[in-house]
Amino acid sequence: MIKLLGVHKSFGPNRVLRGVDLALPKGQSMVVIGGSGTGKSVLLKCILGLVRPDAGSITVEGEDALRAERDAFLARFGMLFQGGALFDSLKVWENVAFRLLRGPLKRPKAEAREIAIEKLRRVGLKPETADLFPAELSGGMQKRVGLARAIAAAPEIIFFDEPTTGLDPIMAGVINDLIREIVVEMGVTAMTITHDMSSVRAIADRVAMLHEGVIQWTGPVAEMDATPDPYVQQFIHGRAEGPIAAVR
């Protein structure tokens, strides 16, 4: 279980997280929704230790995220970044097999390449893609490669940061389906941040809404539409009128 208690984070005078309490049971897929600039990415980065929270506690399976041995802690995670964050100087297969080519999970080069090609196949890319460079791929293909990299070392937990941003609706649907399939197939704990409601419905077991630095509402995805919470209702229906100011 990933558990956050009273997590605060400010950047100068901007109080981004103001006491986030959240629990994500093992093996579940949670989607965190919220408007742009509400701190969703900061929340993910706090859990990963990329950003140090000012206050509060974060535990992963009971282990304090801030005190854990970094390499072992991060080895449990896979992450799909918003823009893919593929390494320009490395070929596609080297990106996918990055963890398998160095560090404690190091494998022989040929074996790492085989695993990379298998993961590329899993996300619907042909083996010929393996020897291309990221700049030669379309946005959708880059997301798939990012997804292949996130699952290459068989992590226990996968984070998805805005997985469908910048993609056309069909490609977004393909990525959503892939994420759902992979999460179920691998039995991982998943946390996705998005403001794309089609992603929420495709990926989530549970939904949490982040607004003004706190979790305004959390519950099973099946209860999302029926909740009377005015923040959730305004957000999921995309209304300009409501408690969430349109201009932030």
Binding site: L48, L74, M79, A85, D88, R102
Partner: protein, 261 residues
Amino acid sequence: MSVAGALAALGRPVLAALAALGRVSLYAGQALAHLLRPPFYGREFLHALVQIGWLSLPVVGLTAIFTGGALALQIYAGGARFNAEAVVPSIVAIGMTRELGPVLGGLMVAARVASSIAAEIGTMKVTEQIDALTTLSTNPMKYLVVPRVLAATLAVPVLVAVGDSIGIAGGWLVAVSRLDFNSATYLKNTLDFLEFWDVGSGLVKGAVFGFIVALMGCYMGMTSGRGAQGVGAATKAAVVAASVMILAANYVLTEVFFSAG
């Protein structure tokens, strides 16, 4: 403006400069500490060695040959005022190896390499590639900074040595073709007057300048602001900071070598 106000206005940039120097010093300390601890990324080191060393050879060589030629002409013109034209070979050799080879080589590498490193790492930061490295259990300091700093520290002295040789050759070419020097005599005078420490001190300077160039490129890239403007500003800052620090370090090193005799 009151005296206190004027002092405060003067003190603010000084304090900011000292704080920046402190941050760079801490960063340099971290880079050196990581240099001594595994893991080591050999492939990245070799890649950096090619990028920083091999690919800088043309620009350093061209700078050296033109500088050596111009130096020969200037020393000949100056020496002619007191019938000392014969010092051209020795002064070109000493000038190139002790001062112009390392300083101009360092500045050219700063322009080519510090900018490239800052732009590359800055772009990696903006596109979350640095965060991706961390989530893949890879320390960016070890993977990106250490190989570049080590490669530059080792490659720039070699570039300086090559630049010295080309600069001396440039002086020889101009002296023989334009100033009617005898080729064999020119080369003999060059070798007779050149001492080991003339070359050695230049190579030590080259190593320090290489360290500065890579360090500033990495530091400015890692602390780059957001977007294209942030990366552009980081690139400019890397070249300016590396160049100024090279000139300052050159004076300090020259003072140390001078005092040591």
